[in-house]
């Protein structure tokens, strides 16, 4: 009897899983596997069918100067956006969690950039960064600084993108920190006060460790976003000048839809997926040990 019964339970379980599984397989796992397979084939056209080429696409990638430049850019972009936006988010969350006048308004103000679509944001910032007539140059001009071609200078363009992304992102992360802060029991703070702990000490030894699960979540999101967010490039720079602001995903888009080299795009996608997987696993393994879950 137990055999038939357990069989029934199994079927029941699989049926429950099926709707989600179908969508996951159709839209996540199958495309992933197909992309991996595709990266071992040459790009096919109607006149030149695609053939198996083994690792040739990967070899090509290693010799591709643009790929390395884009990878370097993405590294600096991640390094520039992640720590700053997370730190800023935490700071803003602590600030608007306290008692201050018009708290709701301030919270909303911090959250506004998140609500705006990236394309709209990029269009606004495009005019901020415009040489001479843009907001940035107008403000700097009041202090006598000469106009600068922010997006046209390979030395400043990536920095400009980083600043804009931090502005856009930190409000979003702030919401998570704010929610986490509000779930902390107030007794802890009262107890700490009785013990005579300073505010900084309390933050460092109590609040921050208790926020670690949120920090992990936010960090993973920030890392993924630093590879995933490229909408602004379409508007701001198209990856230029001379690839100085090109990021990996945008390059994949170019290769796939401007160059129509699907095989090479698949190769780059595999690399992007691998990098993201390694980072995510690393974060879980390393940070998990230091996180106190209640």
């Amino acid at each position: 009897m137990s055999f038939a019964r357990s069989n029934q339970v199994h079927i029941y379980g699989w049926l429950l899983l099926m709707p989600a599984a179908i969508f996951l397989i159709a839209f996540t796992y199958y495309p992933t596997v197909a992309t991996l397979a595709h990266s071992f084939f040459s790009d096919g056209t109607a006149l030149r069918p695609s053939v198996f080429v083994g690792l040739e696409n990967y070899k090509l990638m290693l010799e591709d100067e643009v790929f390395w430049k884009v990878a370097r850019n993405n590294f600096w972009f991640a390094l520039g956006t992640i720590p700053v936006s997370v730190a800023l988010a935490l700071l803003m969350a602590v600030w608007v969690n306290g008692r201050l006048p018009a708290r709701g308004l301030v919270r909303m103000a911090y959250f506004t950039p998140t609500v705006l679509p990236m394309i709209a944001v990029a269009n606004i910032w495009l005019f901020f960064y415009t040489p001479d007539i843009g907001l940035v140059d107008q403000v700097l001009g009041m202090f006598g600084a000469p106009g600068h071609n922010w997006l046209g200078d390979p030395d400043t363009v990536l920095g400009c993108l980083i600043v804009m992304t931090v502005w856009k992102e930190s409000g979003f992360f702030m919401i998570f920190y704010l929610a986490a802060l509000q779930s902390l029991p107030p007794e802890l703070e009262e107890a700490a006060k009785l013990e005579g702990a300073g505010r900084w000490y309390f933050f460092r030894r109590v609040t921050f460790p208790l926020l670690m699960p949120t920090t992990l979540f936010v960090l993973i999101n920030a890392v993924i976003n630093s590879f995933k967010l490229v909408d602004h490039l379409f508007i701001l720079t198209k990856g230029g000048p001379d690839n100085a602001s090109n990021l990996l995903l945008y390059y994949i888009y170019e290769v796939a839809f401007s160059f129509f080299d699907e095989a090479y795009a698949a190769t780059l996608t595999v690399v992007l997926l691998a990098v993201l997987a390694v980072i995510a696993i690393g974060q879980f393994v390393i940070l998990d040990k230091r996180i106190h879950y209640r």
Partner: protein
């Protein structure tokens, strides 16, 4: 993930096409689907819908579905995705420079293989030759010009007067452009530039502007077969040196790259006295300029020159003979002189054939608004827009080289030499 996106897109298109096929029981009617992109502002979709409705009234046996499909890039992606899904449209307006890509994908059929009567054959020769350059290769005509433009020079006449220049004599040569530019630059007490002499955009479509400069230096960028580029020819290097020099040596243009999207605003705010831009901006500038402005042909060095730009009609290969005939009929209808004139006035695009400018409507319009004729007059000096096999890659090589030179990371000859070498590698297998 793009794979997934594309498959989904193709799937959706397939499903939609199938649903349509089942829904329509009327077999007698020829049904055409036409994709078309819109790359400039304005209510162009309404204009197209109006033209198509007129066509169906005249031809009750043909049902046309005109599908707006985003910008040029989107249109190409949609058309190719539908093709792979086995349910392509019958005709489409796409970027004129997509021709080699579409031939390589075996997606389109040459018009020479469709036309039957002598009258139809004669029709193929009714267009401006410069506009046909991007539609012909291998001795055949693959694209018929529809929404086409060139680069023109917009200049601020008030600024010309302010600088003591004759507002009716815009610079006609490279030397004049540099010299007049110097006079047009206005600085404040602390030496900061308040108004630049000239701006040539170098993001978005740098290769397009560069095509104008090289043509003016009597050098084309590629051969007719689309398998050879001339990026490192002395004429091309000289053109890039001049472009770089406008900022670096003459100080009439800001150094670094100049943003395509904000350039019009720069001109309207009188931050620059001259800009080079597409004719497609004419209507907007006309509406918004708070000063007296003029439009002129681009200046010459060894000769005048500009590349053409914009979209052509293509007919897809996966079509029945009836559909091809119907598609040809539609294209001929849309390119009649009167329709072409109407299209040109409503959009700012060029009238694609000389007899369009002979129609009364367009004659009157040009008389009232002379800048509308500048692009036409310039056609005499126009050449094809950069278009080769592997066109996306080759174009990007050139774009990167131009930007590298303008931002000072490489010298013009170094940047163009490297781009040429890589373009050779890409194009070798097409020779």
């Amino acid at each position: 993930m793009f794979e997934c996106l594309k498959r989904t897109l193709a799937g959706t298109l397939l499903a939609g096409a199938l649903a349509l096929g089942f829904a329509s029981g009327a077999w007698a009617k020829v049904e055409l689907t036409m994709y078309y992109p819109v790359a400039v502002g304005g209510p162009l979709t309404k204009v197209v819908d109006g033209l198509v409705a007129d066509f169906m009234k005249e031809n009750p046996g043909i049902e046309v579905k005109a599908v707006y499909s985003g910008n040029y890039n989107d249109a190409r992606i949609k058309a190719l995705a539908a093709l792979r899904a086995g349910q392509p449209a019958q005709l489409s307006v796409m970027f004129s420079i997509d021709i080699y890509e579409l031939i390589e994908q075996d997606a389109i059929i040459a018009f020479d293989d469709i036309v039957e009567t002598d009258e139809e054959r004669a029709w193929l020769n009714k267009f401006y030759p410069a506009l046909m350059e991007n539609g012909k290769t291998g001795g055949k005509t693959w694209g018929i010009p529809f929404q086409r433009s060139t680069i023109v020079m917009y200049y601020n006449k008030d600024a010309f007067r302010d600088a003591g220049l004759d507002p009716d004599k815009p610079p006609a040569t490279w030397d004049e452009l540099a010299a007049m530019g110097k006079k047009l630059v206005k600085k404040d007490a602390s030496g900061q530039v308040q108004r630049w002499g000239v701006m040539i955009p170098s993001t978005g479509y740098p290769y397009w502007m560069f095509g104008a400069l090289t043509m003016q230096n009597d050098q084309v960028l590629m051969n007719r077969e689309g398998n050879q580029t001339y990026f490192d020819a002395p004429g091309a290097v000289g053109a890039l040196e001049y472009w770089l020099g406008l900022g670096k040596t003459h100080g009439v243009m800001p150094e670094g790259t100049i943003e395509w999207a904000t350039l019009r605003q720069n001109f309207l705010e009188q931050n620059t006295a001259i800009m080079w831009h597409s004719t497609g901006n004419l209507t907007v500038v006309k509406k918004k300029a708070g000063f007296d402005f003029g439009v002129a042909m681009l200046p010459a060095n060894k000769r005048r020159g500009t590349p053409t730009g914009g979209g052509n009609f293509y007919i897809f290969k996966k079509t029945t003979p009836e559909e091809r005939t119907a598609a040809l009929k539609l294209i001929r209808f849309l390119t009649q002189p009167e329709r072409t004139a109407e299209w040109s006035m409503k959009t700012g695009y060029l009238g694609t054939r000389p007899d369009a400018y002979e129609t009364q409507a367009l004659k009157d319009y040009v008389a009232k608004f002379p800048p509308a004729a500048v692009a036409r007059d310039q056609l005499e000096f126009a050449t094809a827009e950069l278009s080769t096999y592997q066109t996306g890659r080759v174009r990007k090589l050139l774009d990167d080289a131009i930007q590298a030179a303008l931002t000072g990371t490489k010298s013009p000859s170094e940047a163009l030499g490297a781009a040429q070498k890589q373009a050779d590698r890409l194009l070798k297998r097409y020779r």
